[in-house]
Amino acid sequence: MSEKLSRDALAQLVARDIKPGSYVNLGIGQPTLVSNYLTPEQEVTLHTENGMLGMGPEAHGDQIDEDLINAGKIPVTELPGASYFHHADSFAMMRGGHLDVCVLGAFQVSATGDLANWHTGAPDAIPAVGGAMDLATGAKDVYVMMSLFTKDGRSKLVPECSYPLTGVGCVTRVYTNEAVFLISSEGVRVRETFGTTVEELQAKMDVKLLPPL
């Protein structure tokens, strides 16, 4: 592809990669964009950790119901086949490995799939973790969506995270505006690049990259 991906194009790519029939949690923030690109034919069921399967799109106008919100506390809708459950049951569902995919944002991902997305480590920061650690350890596949480089040009895919961890060895795929990376026991493999090359990326990254298969 000839240019870097926009957030929406990236969300579209992630959506296309989700297998039909999957149960998916899209966290909060950027990853929720993925829901805009899931097709009915995919029959993907969305989980929200505050206690629902079968979550529909964001609610607007008269649809808004204060008892029906997602994990980001945004009013949503209910699709046919939905179900509600309490928080312990909802997190049991995540932690028991029943979700096929969760998609999370990140500050950093390490070459071995460690995730850092909940705390900057700044000494004066008030920490807040929410369900991030449960999602990171619970889903069968953890996809990260993020920009590959910080504003000052440092790679967020790193040999080892410097930020406090959310989960250890949990990330299997990293979707970025410049490339998609697959993380496995063999290392970090580039699946595809957008407006750049593996060589160009490697020059800017400390993580050893394996070429696309």
């Binding site: 957030r7 909060i28 923030g29 950027q30 950790e49 505050n50 206690g51 629902m52 609610a59 808004i64 119901d65 204060e66 008892d67 029906l68 919100i69 997602n70 994990a71 980001g72 506390k73 945004i74 009013p75 209910e78 509600y84 459950f85 309490h86 928080h87 312990a88 909802s90 997190f91 049991a92 995540m94 932690r95 999370l104 944002g105 990140a106 500050f107 460690d114 997305n117 909940w118 705390h119 004066d124 920061a125 008030i126 920490p127 807040a128 973790v129 929410g130 369900g131 991030a132 650690m133 449960d134 350890t137 619970g138 993020m146 920009s147 406090p164 961890l165 959310t166 989960g167 250890v168």
Partner: protein, 237 residues
């Protein structure tokens, strides 16, 4: 046996200084706002509060914190765009924070109600939230030992109760209600409606009356309040 209180004030009258209080709700959904307001008016202080968050804007739990009635909070997501009262108390060193991953929070509350003395959870393993905790590798996977969160009181909101205290909830407002009711010595529940015993389908009861001590009917607002504008802090991309 179930007590049906006439007012929210009466319902929470037993909450004493130094009590541990579970407060239900996630965002505004399931938040027992009138019970929290009554707790504020009642004057109980030195409380340990367990909630997913640490109060939002200038209402409910945020006001309890503003008034320095909360000695310690156990929660998963204190920092929000409008958690200014918590932020101020925390930075002033006037509130203790026990930060718990949301799933561990839920499971620890469930464990208290279920008589579990502790459990090994993968969540948090290898992170700073497991520091100082016992860990163990089981079948090749790392786990952290977590303990139950018992409480003196639970303040929760349900849709409907019958006269033996069976409860049903509504949509995602169910959230922490069922597990908090079971984990507290006294569960105090605000509902929109109290029906005769036998009018809730036994298959559809979510919280059996055995877990419920006090219910109070709070007239639902004539028109639904606007959806909350506050959203959780998004990860900086």
């Amino acid at each position: 046996m179930l007590t049906i209180a006439a007012t929210a004030q009466e319902a929470v009258a037993g909450v004493h200084d130094g009590a541990t209080v579970l407060i239900g709700g996630f965002g505004n959904a399931g938040q027992p706002m009138e019970l929290i307001d009554a707790l504020l008016q009642g004057g109980a202080t030195d409380l340990t509060v367990v909630n997913n968050n640490a109060g939002q804007a200038d209402a409910g739990l945020a006001l309890l914190i503003k008034e320095r009635r909360v000695r310690k909070i156990i929660c998963s997501f204190p920092r929000q765009s409008d958690s200014w009262h918590f932020d101020a108390a925390y930075r002033a060193g006037e509130i203790e924070l026990e930060l718990v991953p949301q799933g561990n929070l839920a499971e620890r509350i469930r464990a208290a109600g279920a008589g579990i003395g502790g459990f090994f959870t993968p969540t948090g393993y290898g992170t700073m939230l497991a520091e100082g905790k016992e860990t163990r590798v089981i079948d090749g996977r790392g786990y952290v030992l977590e303990s139950p969160i018992h409480a003196d009181f639970a303040l929760i909101k349900a849709l409907k109760a019958d006269k033996v205290g069976n409860l049903v909830y509504r949509k995602t407002a169910r959230n922490f209600g069922p597990i908090m009711a079971a984990a507290a010595k006294q569960a105090i529940v605000q509902v929109s409606e109290i029906v005769e015993t036998g009018q809730i389908d036994p298959e559809a009861v979510i919280t059996p009356g055995i877990y419920v001590d006090t219910v109070v009917r709070i007239e639902p607002p004539a028109s639904g309040p606007a959806a909350p504008s506050s959203t959780e802090h998004e990860v900086n991309q």
